[in-house]
């Protein structure tokens, strides 16, 4: 898709861009990160990377595309608890667990690196600036989960979607996946519903309201925010929970 800039082909991979949003890295750090993420594997949409109940097979690093964490009820109803975007590492210390307590599944076509636990251990021990960035990233994952709980527990349907779009804009900007045309949003209404605790009917109505208010354009899987200030105000969006450093785009 022309609207997304897959930064793996650019000067820095999304993994490096994301960590540099938290703190400065040395050339040696960058070279090491580039080396361990050099050969991502193409993964089809809707592929399980990790399944609840199974032994973790390593730490997944998303280089392109979008994946999610989710859990299901026995009747099939699903709640998506997190989006994993380019540059996101899934569960730094997952090797400490004997069994996964949730699923990680691709939403779109992805490029993914699976880091063996020993590689993660080596990075944490020998590259303190990278280790700091990864720990910051884990804290931000937890802060984001708290924000999502607030979102589905206390915001209206239109506010929930608005907040999600504001967050995606900020996170994708850090990893250079946003341009003047917006960003790729390869999600169905059902997936947005599973994310925001709504029915797909309410998602359809809410998206129409956001369009009619002139706040967004969502066409062919690409989202363009037309009035960021009003969308943030509507959502009650405060970017602080993402803890972005000085290198994050304003």
């Amino acid at each position: 898709m022309t609207r997304i800039n897959p930064s793996v082909t650019g000067a820095a991979s999304p993994f490096i861009r994301k960590l540099e949003a938290f703190n400065a890295l040395s050339d040696e750090d960058r070279q090491m990160l580039a080396r361990i993420s050099a050969e991502p594997e193409a993964v089809a949409p809707h592929t399980d990377l990790a399944c609840e109940g199974e032994r973790p097979r390593g730490v997944y690093l998303i280089m392109e595309g979008m994946a999610c964490r989710h859990k299901r009820l026995h009747d099939g109803a699903r709640q998506i608890m997190a989006y994993l975007l380019p540059g996101d590492l899934c569960d730094l210390d997952v090797a400490l667990l004997t069994r996964m307590d949730h699923n990680i599944t691709t939403l779109s076509a992805c490029k993914v690196v699976r880091l063996p636990p020993e590689t993660v251990t080596d990075v944490l021990e020998r590259h303190p600036a990278v280790a700091r960035g990864l720990r910051m990233s884990t804290l931000v994952d937890e802060a984001t989960l708290r924000e999502w709980l607030l979102n589905i527990g206390r915001r209206t349907p239109v506010q929930r979607l608005s907040h999600l779009f504001c967050e995606l804009f900020e996170r994708l900007t850090v990893v250079a996946c946003v341009d003047q045309e917006g960003f790729a949003l390869p999600l169905t209404h059902a997936e947005l519903a599973d994310t925001t605790g709504l029915s797909s009917v309410h998602v359809t109505r809410s998206l129409q309201e956001l369009r009619q208010r002139g706040l967004i354009d969502l066409t062919d899987g690409a989202l363009r925010i037309l009035d960021a200030e009003r969308l943030r105000t509507l959502a009650g969006f405060d970017v602080n929970y993402l803890h972005l450093g000085a290198s994050a785009a304003a």
Binding site: L73, S199, S200, V201, T204, R205, Q208, E209
Partner: protein
Amino acid sequence: MNLRLDPIQVATGCEDQEGRLVYKDGLLAAVLVCLSDLHGTDAGKWHLEAMFEPIRSASAPIFADLDEAQTWIADQLPGLS
């Protein structure tokens, strides 16, 4: 099936206005709304807009017609299934 349906117009904030109040034993039990063209291939189907008794499932499907909706609602309500 001891359900009664009354036509109603519902203020959903969009074109989905045609609705039914669903009564069980004279008490309002649920509100159904017919989906408009806004919903593409689901237009003409029925959405459970609200339900007022404790139900067994937190997520209701979209119903092809009112008979299917009543069957689902009856299955959820104690004493009707």
